[in-house]
């Protein structure tokens, strides 16, 4: 009788958790939970933990720490997580400069790194690594999509980004696909809050379209000031400029802006609907693309861990690379450099029932990889 009961309990637990895990798996999440960029990190953490919770497996543990958007702090946390917490996988970093400080040394120590956002070109080409996966995109992707979109109907673009590595990747990506003329190419300070001087130049430039890459508070400040300026040139940008973490603070000034993204809340597939419902139920707000990316990163890890032990790096890496998940983005697979191949869409900021959010307009790229994969030899 006792044996039967035990077997029944075991069977029951198997059915709710999917597959039993061979051994415990420990994930270290380093992300930005304080300071101006905290909104992005909190969405990353919440999206990730949602997928972990849905998996419902007690063998997976996650330790989370705040990097305060400081590279030196991120490095200290990574060392501590690897040496004393003994994590198997690191994840969660939002910013490319922090990722460059952490990921190369983590993979050199034999740990997996699964990126939920940052995707610098330096790790996608010749310096790709078997243990480094990116579940989000490659940094250039969303900007490339806007360059492609701008070819339709825009002849003279004014392009603007902050003066740091991801800002340069952004304008490089845009120019890789945009064929028209450039009215101006302007780099602003990181964290700049007043754009009056740049908006005056836009007014005088004679441009017929404006592309801005300004994540977080920078984008909020720019859009509010642009709306007041009386300049009537259409604004577009990568999804980060108009993602759900900043839209409520920009308000009506964002409505009508065009952006590129791998996901929007109106995606019509079962995985997306489930994700949206679960996220709103759990956290009582709309998720941003950072949350989707982290959700998929966690799903990828859970899926791989159900098939292979993380201690066997080759087998686990091979399972990760299969990307056997139901992504809210729809199609999702890994390229040879372990960055996504996915569809990229044009979205538009709309106001629906009083909520400002993104709506899908059309597909810009189907099965889009990145420009660096050909240099990756793994």
């Amino acid at each position: 009788m006792k044996k039967m009961l035990a077997a029944a309990t075991l069977a029951l637990s198997m059915s709710t958790t999917g597959m039993a895990f061979a051994e415990p798996l420990k994930i270290g999440m380093i992300t930005t939970l304080s300071g101006g960029g905290a909104g992005l990190g909190i969405d990353t953490r919440d999206g990730f933990m949602l997928a972990i919770k849905n998996a419902g497996n007690k063998d997976i543990t996650v330790v989370t720490e705040d990097d305060a958007q400081k590279p030196e702090l991120a490095v200290q946390i990574a060392d501590k997580m690897i040496q004393s917490d003994k994590v198997d996988i690191l994840t969660g970093i939002v910013w490319s400069n922090l990722l460059m400080a952490v990921a190369p040394s983590a993979v050199a120590q034999g740990k997996f790194y699964v990126s939920t956002n940052a995707a610098p070109a330096a790790l996608a080409g010749a310096n790709c690594n078997k243990l480094y996966f990116n579940a989000a995109y490659q940094n250039d992707n969303l900007h490339e999509a806007m360059g492609e979109y701008a070819n339709k109907g825009y002849k003279k673009m004014f392009i603007l980004a902050p003066n740091y590595p991801a800002g340069k990747d952004s304008l490089t990506g845009f120019k890789r696909y945009y064929k028209g003329q450039l009215a101006a190419e302007v780099y602003t300070q990181v964290g700049q809050t007043d754009y009056a001087a740049e908006i005056a130049q836009m007014r005088a430039s004679g441009a017929d379209g404006i592309f801005v890459f300004l994540p977080g508070g920078m984008g909020i400040a720019f859009m509010k000031q642009f709306a007041q300026s009386g300049v009537k040139i259409p604004v577009m940008g990568p999804g980060f400029s108009f993602s759900q973490d900043v839209l409520p603070a920009i308000g009506d000034a964002a409505v009508g802006a065009k952006a590129s993204g791998q996901w929007a809340p109106d995606f019509d597939n079962a995985a997306s609907k489930k994700f949206l419902a679960d996220f709103q139920k759990e956290y009582n707000r709309l998720p941003s693309i950072y949350a989707v990316q982290a959700y998929d990163a966690a799903q990828l890890i859970v899926a791989a861990a159900s098939k292979a032990s993380v201690k066997n790096a080759d087998a686990f890496g091979a399972e990760l690379k299969k990307a056997d998940i139901q992504s809210p983005r729809g199609k999702f697979k890994f390229n040879t450099n372990q960055h996504p191949i996915q569809d990229i869409y044009l979205t538009e900021v709309v106001k629906q029932n009083g909520v400002i959010t993104n709506k899908t307009v059309e597909k810009i790229f189907a099965d889009h990889g990145d420009a660096y994969a050909k240099d990756c030899k793994i």
């Binding site: 009056a196 300026s229 920009i250």
Partner: protein, 307 residues
């Protein structure tokens, strides 16, 4: 480049300068009267912006929010002075910097605890929405003109307060000889609290005005604080007149630098590189100006009277 564009950029510089003045006036007043370096001044700016955004969201009126921002920042300033700052006047500057830096961290994390990590929404009042035509055919946002006007009124008000009232007389007396006015029977402790609350209210006012134009988020005060310190160092620490001229100089230099340097560089190198190098050089420009002024006048443009 046209005259209209140059005029617009000049107004932008003026507006940035006026906003910096509101921050720098409080900072320099507090230093002048009490000899205190207050790093937490940026936090009071943030308190003003958050108070305005919250009250405006409750009541639907920016103007009530603006009054709330003055009240909240002045109250926060008075409490901070009574609880913490009061113990620091006799300490050296290192202790003051440490304690007020700790205040920054407490204000930031306290605000995050209360309001969360996502930026708040604060919009420009309907009365000041939109743009007006300027001579030369260009348009300029009404709200930025309103900031310039508000700054001018505050500057004039401060001038009247300091030169024409009893409180102003005591502030001037406090600047020139702290021990003596105490000995003459003026309640120096109350005067300090009042001056600190006044400086805080100015910072809160700036935070609310600018919050409608930028993003209301945790940590918004620190970048402005650095510029405000540049302003008072250029103007002469402790001098309100110096703060006004320093603020306008920094505002116009920064705006014109961001606008003109890439254009000048574009005559010599490719546009993409001119943008990158010019942008980097423009961000250094105000510090270069500060270094040059300090080399010529080591105590700033208008050094305060006491040594």
């Amino acid at each position: 480049m046209t005259l209209a564009l140059a005029l617009e950029q000049l107004l932008n510089g003026l507006q940035l300068g006026v906003m910096l003045f509101l921050m720098a006036a409080g900072l320099t007043l507090i230093f002048g009267v009490m000899g205190l370096i207050n790093l937490a001044h940026g936090s009071l700016y943030m308190v003003g912006a958050f108070a305005c955004a919250t009250v405006a969201a409750w009541t639907g009126s920016f103007w009530i929010g603006l009054i709330a921002s003055l009240a909240a920042a002045a109250a926060a300033g008075a409490i901070v002075e009574l609880v913490v700052i009061r113990r620091l006047y006799d300490r050296d500057h290192l202790d003051q910097v440490l304690a007020t830096f700790a205040l920054i961290l407490m204000f930031s994390e306290g605000t995050r605890w209360l309001f969360g990590s996502f930026p708040l929404y604060l919009d420009i009042p309907p009365l000041l929405q939109g743009a007006v035509a300027l001579p030369g055919g260009t348009e300029y946002p009404v709200y930025r003109l309103a900031i310039i006007l508000a700054g001018a009124i505050v500057a004039f008000g401060l001038y009247l307060l300091i030169s024409r009232t009893r409180l102003g007389m005591r502030i001037r007396a406090g600047e020139s000889d702290r021990e003596m006015i105490g000995a003459l029977g003026v309640d120096i402790r109350t005067l300090y609290t009042v001056v600190f609350a006044l400086g805080a209210a100015l910072a809160g006012f700036a935070g609310a005005m600018v919050g409608a134009l930028q993003s209301v988020q945790v940590g918004m005060g620190e970048p402005v604080l650095i510029l405000a310190f540049v302003v008072i160092v250029i103007g002469g620490i402790g001098s309100i007149k110096g703060a006004l001229l320093g603020a306008l100089l920094v505002g116009v230099t920064d705006t014109m630098g961001r606008f003109l340097l890439p254009k000048i560089l574009a005559l010599f190198v490719a546009p993409a590189q001119a943008g990158m190098i010019g942008g980097a050089a423009a961000s250094m420009l105000i510090y270069i100006v500060m270094a040059v002024i300090l080399a010529v006048k080591p105590r700033g443009l208008f050094p305060a009277a006491h040594a």
